[in-house]
């Protein structure tokens, strides 16, 4: 199961918030390169915890069994980008859309250096990809929810990472933004990037994603979307009882 060349492979990963409660139990899966993978499951299943834990954002999670491109995250940080939930961000922070997009470049720019014109051009290019070039100087607090999400995606894209991990990128965004984000991510995957996104809407998961990890505290199923989200798996993950034909019988 553990493909060493996989953008992200976890093998028996468990995580929690350090209060004794384990939220992610013994999760194992390996992402396919160049695929858009949805991490789906019921509310409170621990999807965000899995994402944050794998990225080393939970101090009590042991990431020894998490490998990015076959290596610990520390060795390949430049190849991994993360887009948090929009609700986790303080949108009253005084920054323009361009400032936020340029934040994805801070590692490349290096310490003690300013964000010069060359870097701003790169950030502008990323904003243009998500259709935000005309609003680059707008304070982020004055943007709509969909526009804010586009700016966050621009910040992730500008890193030039090979794996993009997104937490609920399509939540509370308008349809146009959802379409645009979906198209941008699909293009990125075509050019070799891999995507893992927490997604809550089973209705449209097939529109954007190739693979799925069905998750309910642990991995219920993983693979191509039709297999992973088969009725029997969904009934198990969402605790809906036996599949319909059984109940009719």
């Amino acid at each position: 199961m553990n493909d060493r060349a996989s953008p992200l492979a976890v093998d028996g990963f468990s995580a929690g918030y350090g209060n004794g409660e384990v939220i992610v139990h013994d999760a194992s899966f390996a992402l396919r390169r160049g695929a858009m993978t949805a991490l789906v499951g019921p509310n409170g299943a621990g999807k965000s915890t899995l994402l944050k834990g794998a990225l080393g954002l939970l101090p009590h999670a042991n990431t020894a069994c998490v490998r990015f491109f076959g290596q610990p995250l520390e060795q390949v940080r430049a190849r991994v980008a993360y887009l948090p939930q929009r609700a986790d961000i303080d949108w009253t922070f005084p920054a323009s859309a361009l400032d936020v997009a340029a934040m994805g470049l801070y590692r490349k720019i290096g310490f003690f250096r300013r964000v010069s014109g060359r870097w701003k051009t790169e950030a502008r290019r990323a904003l243009a990809l998500v259709g935000m070039e005309s609003l680059e100087s707008m304070p982020i607090g004055e943007l709509s929810g969909g526009q804010q999400q586009r700016v966050l995606l621009a910040r992730s894209l500008v890193q030039g990472a090979d794996l993009l991990m997104l937490d609920e990128p399509f939540v509370n965004v308008d349809f146009a933004t959802e379409e645009r984000l979906g198209a941008v991510l699909r293009d990125a995957c075509r050019s070799g990037m891999s995507v893992l996104a927490v997604h809550h809407d089973l209705g449209d998961v097939r529109r954007y994603f190739d693979d799925a990890v069905l998750f309910d505290g642990t991995v219920v199923a993983h693979g191509p979307i039709e297999d992973a989200l088969a009725d029997a798996n969904l009934h198990e993950a969402f605790k809906l009882g036996p599949p319909p034909e059984d109940s009719i019988a």
Partner: protein, 301 residues
């Protein structure tokens, strides 16, 4: 209480006045810019705790200095003492909030009460000390820029300039930490070290502000100029620069007021000036916001 000299005995534009005004101005710039980060990280109450927590350190440093006969009034010794206890409070408050499930609000109250309580006890010992009363340590509570000596102003300016340079050099890293700590971590920035450095900058602001604004009111110089700048808006860099300018204006206004009126507490004058600046920023922000709206509507057309 009688200081070394009354404010009005000093010529208004003497060499000492200029040095003291410059010392206050550098402190104001530091307070405004550090305050921008404090506000962005929702640490205003922590800043207040840190300010009050300098008191026991200052009193202890004075007593140790007198006991060791190295002079308890040395600004460097007082800064060191105040800095150590302020840093201890700045570190222990988030620790208490996390470890004991007290929450930030409860942890702030517990630490402030503990440190300030200890400070007032030690301070009464200082007051009963023959040189303590004369040393004018009481002015550290509400600030008295007029009674500052050249060596006080020099010590303040040295620390404040070093802190400002650190802030400028690491500005973009600090700003990402303030905006999105998780993203900073995933990017591989040394979040823990940057966090510590920001706490040190807060402590540096508190200790340099003790004589200028006073322990009890230094928080006003940290928060009000930054809040006014934030209301006006713009990028984070612009906000921090505006906050620094407001800080300078309020600090200089406070120093001038202290020079002009006998026994006028500088900290109170600065706090009032900062409050006025904050309330003036509200109508200004409305005008600027309307202009921005107009400009972006024209750009869309």
């Amino acid at each position: 209480m009688i200081e070394h000299h009354t404010n009005l005995e000093i010529p208004f534009w003497g060499a000492n006045t200029i040095t003291v005004t410059l010392g206050c101005a550098v402190f104001g710039a530091l307070a405004g810019s550090v305050g921008t980060f404090v506000l962005a990280r929702k640490q205003s109450l922590l800043a207040d705790v840190t300010g009050h927590a300098a008191l026991p350190g200052v009193a202890l440093a004075f007593l140790i200095g007198e006991w060791a006969q190295i002079g308890g009034r040395s600004p460097w010794l007082l800064f060191l003492g105040g800095g150590v206890t302020a840093l201890l409070a700045a570190w222990s408050t988030p620790w208490l909030a996390r470890k004991r499930r007290l929450g930030a609000d409860g942890a702030n109250a517990v630490t402030l009460a503990a440190f300030f309580g200890l400070g007032t006890v030690l301070f009464s010992l200082v007051q009963s000390h023959p040189t303590g009363a004369q040393g004018g340590l009481r002015r550290l509570l509400f600030g008295n820029a007029a009674a500052m000596t050249n060596s006080d102003a020099l010590a303040i300016a040295t620390i404040a300039i070093a802190a400002l340079l650190t802030l400028i050099l690491l500005f973009k890293e600090f700003s990402l930490l303030a905006f999105d700590e998780d993203a900073a971590r995933v990017l591989g920035l040394p979040v823990r070290r940057l966090d510590w450095l920001l706490l040190l900058l807060l402590v540096a602001t508190v200790v340099t502000g003790m004589q200028v604004a006073g322990i009890a009111l230094v928080v006003s110089m940290l928060i009000a100029p930054a809040a006014a700048a934030r209301v006006i808006g713009g990028s984070f860099g612009r906000t921090a620069s505006i906050a620094a300018c407001f800080g300078v204006a309020c600090a200089v206004a406070g120093a001038m007021a202290s020079r002009s009126v006998e026994h006028f507490p500088t900290g109170s004058a600065m706090a009032l000036a900062a409050t006025v600046v904050f309330f003036l920023s509200i109508p200004c922000s409305r005008i600027l916001h309307a202009r921005r709206e107009r400009n972006s509507a024209e750009a869309r057309r």
